[in-house]
């Protein structure tokens, strides 16, 4: 076990704990950068898909994992981000501008929606946001002149400073684009966590009453969390639509929101790593399932199999590993670090002491 002797406050503030951690993540980044040379185009497409899901997942993680507000409406923001990007591109705005602008606009809309919605708590908020997701489906159909309705829209070609990014002719460029987006989002996320705003998010999640008593404005903090979450998810949605190349009202159904929520729960709520691990699971599950069904010798697609299996996985996780895949990894790592002193109950959830009765 490595022991840190901290000699300055920067030891706690900087992104990586020590040189060892830094080199681990540098190695991971190098591996990610070298990926186009290591695997074929099909799997590179899958890797791109993982990164896109991870971007969406980071968005929801900020809201649910960090600020403790459940949302089943994030497919609406994915749709908004996607249509905004494409409409801006069609209006002649270059992709490098249209894409971040769409994220900001989605964030603002998300913040506006949050103002009334965040008066609700827990499951009620989930229901309200679910309504938003279902409404989006209809809105896309109704706003046919802009959205193309049921017929859908084709993604315009993406060019970044003269370089064409096409998933078939230049899959590596697409992959790098998704990689850069997810890295930037992760950096922003990490920066927030080590600043007052990130701590205000955690304060709102754990105890609204004492957050207020410490001077945290609940409404503003939740609205910012919701807006940022919506913005990031919007970016992910834009990538997803552009990557699919064709999208309509059925691309962004509420099922997507549920998958997104499942993803971050399975990955590990409240951890950045959780969003990535969940993204890997959700991207490769369909492949794994089809390999299994092929192995059994069944040629017929079983309807609802994927979502059913995912549901079972999620139930098992909530029952046996509420901290998700990343929590499981933390436990394994602690076991080896402390060997043989790790105790079974080190991560047991403690009974919390009596909470202050709700005021008002």
């Amino acid at each position: 076990m490595r022991i840190h002797f901290k000699t300055s406050y920067d030891d706690d503030i900087r992104l990586f704990e020590d040189g060892w951690k830094l080199s681990l993540y540098a190695a991971l980044l190098a591996l990610m950068a070298a990926l186009p040379w290591l695997i074929d185009d099909f799997y590179l497409g899958e890797a791109t898909n993982v990164l896109i899901w991870a971007t969406c997942g980071l968005g929801l993680m900020l809201l649910t994992g960090q600020t403790g507000q459940a949302s089943l409406g994030h497919s609406a923001f994915m749709a908004l981000g996607c249509y905004t990007t494409v409409l801006l591109m069609e209006a002649g705005v270059p992709f490098v501008l249209a894409f971040p602008l769409a994220g900001v606009l989605t964030g603002i809309v998300g913040g506006l929606i949050a103002i009334p919605a965040l008066k609700l708590h827990g499951v009620y908020l989930a229901i309200a946001t679910l309504a938003l997701a279902i409404l989006t489906d209809d809105l896309i159909v109704m706003l046919e002149p802009w959205t193309g309705g049921v017929g859908g829209k084709f993604a315009p070609p993406i060019t970044i400073f003269g370089l064409e990014v096409n998933r078939w002719s230049s899959p590596a460029a697409w992959y790098y684009m998704a990689l850069v987006v997810v890295l930037v989002v992760t950096l922003f996320y990490r920066n927030l966590l080590r600043a007052p705003m990130g701590r205000a998010f955690a304060a709102v999640r754990d105890s609204e009453i004492s957050a207020q008593a410490m001077g945290v404005n609940l409404a503003r903090t939740k609205t910012i969390a919701f807006g940022m979450s919506a913005g990031i998810t919007g970016l992910g949605g834009a990538l997803m639509g552009l990557f699919a190349e064709v999208f309509n009202n059925e691309t962004f159904t509420f099922i997507l929101s549920i998958q997104l929520l499942m993803m971050i729960v399975v990955g590990g709520l409240g951890f950045i790593h959780g969003a990535f691990l969940g993204a890997i699971v959700i991207s490769f599950l369909p492949q794994a399932l089809s390999i299994v069904t092929d192995g059994i010798g069944s040629n017929v697609a079983i309807p609802g199999l994927e979502i059913g299996v995912f549901g079972v996985i999620m139930i098992l996780f909530i029952l046996f590993e509420p901290m998700g895949l990343y929590g499981r990894w933390l436990k394994i790592r602690t076991f080896f670090q402390l060997f043989p002193f790790a105790r079974k109950d080190m991560f047991r959830r403690q009974k919390s002491y009596l909470k202050t009765e709700r005021l008002r």
């Binding site: 406050y9 503030i13 920066n191 701590r199 009453i209 207020q212 001077g215 403690q350 002491y353």
Partner: protein, 256 residues
């Protein structure tokens, strides 16, 4: 002028009068205790000062500012920090992070600066951490600096909550039963800390406490409440021997 003034404050929950025409003054530099039987309205007075409740009538002012014009999250910016009777810490965060939330009112950077982690954010963070380390030193919390609250014993949580309030560098510290559930030794520590908070840090303390031993050792002034109304006010010894207080706690002699 008094630091904190309550003038004829009345609070009603439907038909129940929780605080009845209460007036009190806390002077700068005092350690002031509210005592009284269960349900007397002591914590309610705290929640009135924190603006979680709005009185039906009366005035509450702090250093000349009318508190009733403020929202609950604006109260700390005046320099009022508090703890809760049933410990309200951020359970999934570490002790250090909890104390850093106490610094929330001193933040000076905006969201965009924080997203990009500009040099201003970095130097602000250093200042926050330095202030928090002082509190950790003061309350001997070093062994728990990076422990998550969820795994800490009750006594330590109680101290962390005082620490989180102190980290905000308040002028007035509200302690809601700081010694409840603590062992004799921990109560003894709390007594010294309260003494030091007043003497070294120059912070005025208003506390609710049932442990009369602690109250008589640290407090200058005691106000006894029963059924939301003031029974007696004065030094700890005066209040303890006041006939109305004895009656409220022990009942009248007639019943026997």
């Amino acid at each position: 002028m008094s630091l904190l003034t309550l003038e004829n404050v009345t609070l009603k929950f439907g038909g129940l009068t929780a605080v009845n025409n209460l007036s009190m003054q806390v002077e700068e530099g005092q350690v002031f205790a509210l005592v009284g039987p269960n349900g007397a309205g002591k914590s309610t007075v705290f929640n009135l000062i924190s603006r979680f409740y709005t009185p039906v009538s009366g005035k509450i002012s702090f250093a000349g500012t009318d508190l009733l014009g403020l929202a609950p999250d604006e109260v700390p910016s005046l320099g009022i920090a508090r703890t809760f009777q049933n410990i309200e810490l951020f359970d999934q965060a570490t002790v250090l992070e909890n104390l850093l939330v106490g610094r929330h009112r001193h933040r000076s950077t905006n969201l965009v600066q924080q997203m990009f982690h500009t040099p201003a954010v970095r130097s602000e963070e250093r200042a926050h951490r330095e202030a928090v380390e002082e509190v950790i030193d003061f309350l001997d919390l070093q062994p728990y600096r990076n422990s998550r609250i969820a795994g800490l014993p009750y006594g330590v949580r109680k101290v962390v909550e005082v620490g989180r309030a102190l980290a905000s560098k308040p002028r007035l510290l509200l302690l809601d039963e700081p010694a409840s559930g603590l062992s004799v030794e921990e109560t003894q520590n709390m007594r010294w800390w309260i003494d030091d908070i007043r003497r070294q840090m120059g912070i005025t303390v208003l506390m609710v406490e049932h442990d009369m031993g602690l109250v008589s050792k640290v407090c200058d002034k005691v106000l006894a409440l029963a059924d939301g109304a003031m029974l007696a006010q004065g030094t700890p010894a005066e209040v303890q021997s006041h006939p109305a207080v004895i009656e409220a706690y022990l009942g009248t002699g007639d019943a026997a």
